[in-house]
Amino acid sequence: MTMSEPVVVLRGVTKRFASGLEALGGVDLAVARGEFLSLLGPSGCGKSTLLRIVAGLAEPTTGICDLRLAGAPSKSIAAGRIGFVFQDPTLMPWSTVARNVELPFRIAGRVRAAERDRVAASLSAVGLAGFEQAYPHQLSGGMRMRVSIARALVTEPDLLLLDEPFAALDEITRLALNDDLLLLWEAHRPTILFVTHSVFESVYLSTRIAVMRPRPGRIVADLPVRLPQPRDRGVRTSAAYAAMCETVSTALAAAMAQAPAP
């Protein structure tokens, strides 16, 4: 991948919570347009905090977080230019699937035919056409997560932030959603920041992996993933995939060895 202009630039970002906990200890990171970057690390390494800072949901204690999104002024919460998927589906249980996905438009104050079409398109992109009028409690965990992804994609964001979105799902659902996410990324090419603690998932999905160590959170390795694209399930059994997983695992083990014991 050619290093085009960065979409996200972090310089010396630290985060100390009111409790005194130092979540991030100086993070420098540049994410290029169209990149699929995984933040990989053990729990407590500040991955989620970093993602919230990028989303503008938290302020860094020191350092700079600079966003350069198309058509949006730098460093503002660019409504609709960022999509966010949490570890839980985070749906409104009182609203139907369609109403949940339509939420960004409803907040923006325009839900007309064009927006309804985009809701339908977004739902069919995640394989949920026909479920518009269902309520979240009628869906399986995997389907709820698909709704959550459809909602994040409906505004066609430049930047998609995913915070361990598949961690709570079973292995089969997880693999299926991995493939769907790759297809969606290849179709629209948003820049993706993907938080995970699974080595195999990060290697399969990403074009680049930033390995983090905990207490305080820091990026200790920055590894490009040179696997063929577009990827499909065949990649998972290739020798190159196994070798990359080995490399990343070693980097993660080294990161853990540097950190104080939990």
Partner: protein
Amino acid sequence: MKLGIGRRGLRLAAPIAIGIVFLAAWEATVRLRGIPPYILPAPTAIAQSLWTDGPSLLGSLWVTLRITLAALAAAALFGGGIALLFARSRLLELSLFPYAVVLQVTPIVAIAPLVIIWVREPFLALLVCAWIVAFFPIVSNTTVGLNSADRNLLALFRLYGASPGQILLYLRMPTALPYFLAGLRISGGLALIGAVVAEFVAGTGGAETGLAFRILEAGYRLAIPRMFAALLLLSLTGIVIYLLLDWLSRQLLRHWHESAIAPEDE
């Protein structure tokens, strides 16, 4: 069930059977021991009184019911409104909530005479008393509900640039609805109790007499069967109010809230 009736049947049959056994034992005790009706009337005597005094008791019930329903409506309206104000301003909540608690913990029997002196219009005086008892569960529950919005959903609303009004309308209020309805179900019973207590204190008040005053009056005249009949009507009214509010709650929440989703739906 080995008895040949389903679980649902048992839910109805078991309490009814207990009720019949209890009434039969009551009737037998009164008859066998010759207890006079002014000490303890037999169920049949109460039923007879309910039949003969029924129309006039129903008229009184209507008076009490009007106060109860008006107080409940006012409690829902102002209780919900106050909770919304609290949600908009933390300062307002911190300043005023303790006084709502004061109003709640002070026995209504003690405040009622003052209210009746201050508010000249009898209907309004009784309404105020019943409202004081009924509004607190709604304020307290709805306030908790409005503050219970999912943190990640709140973050998402902020990410999409939602205004405080939109967060209230699309997120906090739907979250609070089950809490509000739970408060409403408690307040339904309390409004009736408040109306009865206020009537006890106020006495006859105006031209119309409510059910509570009829109970007092029957007590003075040693018309104990009529007293029991009036009491029975009050209990039935309370049950009906509860069932109606429970039904309303289920209707409003049936699509999404755990408390109201039918098991077959899952």
